[in-house]
């Protein structure tokens, strides 16, 4: 169950990318396996994300998309495999309460990787502004004024100027999710992870969030998005990764995977979701 510990930095070139330190992909997953109570649900997935890329991770329910995404941040501990950021292997160990980093290396890694959850997970006892300020001050160590200014800027960025002093419970689902995005962006992440950010929203509210994400993409943010929104995968993603039964079945440029899938599995899945 222990995540194997290797030497960092990794000096072997990364297969397929011809990587050296300068051009290493921002994120690389090597043969990630995840198991729950001895039952393996992700069977060795490898994935490379280049800087500025937007990747949509799609597939049927139970495919292991969330597990894979969460393992990048060590919210799930991979049972085997390696996670590299900028060519450096991350030695993660999430522990306390299943979520809090036990070592400095993971804390540093997590500051680089923003995460947006399906259920938002905003802090309900804090206002929108305070939600965005908190970790800037207490995790990055920014001073309060700087953090507040930055928080206002990020809330404006996601279209929430004027809502700074509202509590999450007083915001619509779409607004809440955008606060969550602002909260993550304020940490200056190199990479953003989204786990079905619109699945718990009504369609018209989902659109607000999708538009925000589209904007982030156009600004060059590197994004890995688990989604059931086929339009987002088609229109916004550069690359689509189709997962089923704990493995990557097909991946490629968005247009190719979405419009001309090669595998039967992807064909069936896409026609099923489109048929709805």
């Amino acid at each position: 169950m222990n995540f194997s510990v290797h030497n960092t930095p990794l000096d072997t070139p990364v297969p397929g990318t011809g990587s050296t330190a300068g051009t290493a992909p921002i994120l690389e997953l090597r043969d990630i396996r995840i198991e729950y109570k001895g039952h393996e649900v992700v069977h060795g997935v490898s994935l490379t994300v280049q800087r500025g890329e937007v990747i949509a991770l799609i597939g049927p329910s139970g495919a292991g998309k969330s597990s894979l995404l969460r393992s990048i941040n060590f919210l799930e501990q991979p049972s085997a495999g390696q996670i590299l950021v900028n060519g450096q292997q991350v030695q993660g160990q999430a522990g306390r309460r299943g979520a809090i980093a036990r070592n400095k290396a993971l804390a540093t890694h997590r500051r680089d990787v923003g995460m947006v959850f399906q259920q938002f997970n905003l802090f309900p006892h804090l206002t929108a502004l305070e939600n965005v300020v908190l970790a800037q001050v207490h995790s990055l160590g920014r001073n309060k004024d700087e953090a507040v200014a930055r928080a206002r800027q990020e809330l404006a960025h996601v279209g929430l100027t004027g809502h700074e002093d509202k509590y999450p419970a007083k915001c619509s689902g779409g607004q809440q999710q955008r606060i969550a995005i602002a909260r993550a962006l304020a940490m200056d992440p190199q990479l953003m992870l989204f786990d079905e950010p619109t699945s718990s929203l009504d369609p018209e509210l989902g659109v607000e969030v999708l538009n925000t994400m589209k904007r982030l993409a156009s600004e060059g943010m590197t994004m890995l998005v688990v989604t059931h929104e086929m339009h987002f995968a088609e229109d916004v993603a550069d690359r689509v990764v189709f997962m089923a039964d704990g493995a990557v079945v097909e991946e490629g440029p968005a247009e190719q995977v979405m419009l001309h899938p090669a595998s039967e599995r992807a064909k069936t899945f896409l026609s099923a979701v489109r048929g709805r």
Binding site: N73, L75, A94, R96, R97, G98, A99, I100, A101, L106, A107, T108, R110, R111, V113, G114, M115, F117, Q119, N121, L122, F123, P124, H125, L134, A135, H138, S139, R183, A184, M187
Partner: protein, 225 residues
């Protein structure tokens, strides 16, 4: 009858005052104890953790009256003699510690796992997550059941009658044993308990007790506490 009641009320009021005093003093003693026991049973290393869990179960498992007798008649066996009033406060304070510890633990556990995950992905440390995110939410969850316990505690002060603390019940009994108006005296005392209880319930609803009856106030507090 009206005259009898009018004669009783001024006699009973000071007793009600003592009942309230015992309630508040027991809370002052018991709440910090409850927090310590809760922290111990959640976070302490094994032997201490099990000790705390055991103490909580013990405090909840012993009848209130026995707890009272243990302190009042039991401690003298160890050379600690005290008056009935402080004895009743200590006994009810110990019970408060055990029952509220359970409430605090439940409140802490009721904060969703997603909150921990949000803290984790923002790279907040364990103590900062606890202090800035988890505890403020747990406290909010805990307030209604704590008020529920306070109502129970107030009613439980009537136990102190058994060791002759001059609280409401004792006053009623002493008065009635002179005038033989038992029915009237106990009914009046009962109504005074009821009045304070209803006041507490009103408060409980105002702070957002979800279900609107005493049963909700007592969710975390099994009957017969």
């Amino acid at each position: 009858m009206i005259e009898s009641v009018l004669a009783m009320v001024p006699e009973f009021i000071p007793g009600l005052g003592i009942s309230l005093l015992v309630t508040i003093a027991s809370l002052v003693l018991g709440l910090p104890l409850g927090i310590l026991l809760a922290l111990g049973s959640l976070f302490a290393a094994r032997p201490l953790q099990y000790t705390c869990i055991g103490l909580i179960e013990l405090g909840r498992g012993i009848p209130g009256l026995i707890m009272l007798y243990l302190v009042y008649f039991g401690l003298p066996q160890m050379g600690v003699v005290m008056d009935a009033l402080p004895a009743s406060i200590i006994a009810l304070g110990l019970m408060t510690g055990a029952y509220t510890a359970e409430i605090f633990v439940a409140g802490f556990r009721a904060v969703p796992q997603g909150q921990w995950e949000a803290c984790g992905t923002l790279a907040l440390s364990y103590w900062k997550s606890l202090r800035l995110v988890i505890l403020p939410q747990a406290i909010k969850i805990v307030v209604p059941p704590l008020i529920g316990w306070t109502i129970m505690l107030f009613q439980a002060t009537s136990l102190a009658y058994a060791i002759s603390v001059p609280e409401l019940m004792s006053r009623a009994y002493n008065y009635a044993s002179v005038t033989f108006e038992y029915a009237l005296a106990f009914t009046l005392a009962g109504l005074m308990y009821l009045a304070v209880t209803l006041l507490g319930l009103w408060l409980f609803r105002r702070v957002g007790g979800r279900r609107r009856s005493l049963s909700a106030a007592k969710v975390a507090v099994p009957a017969g506490a």
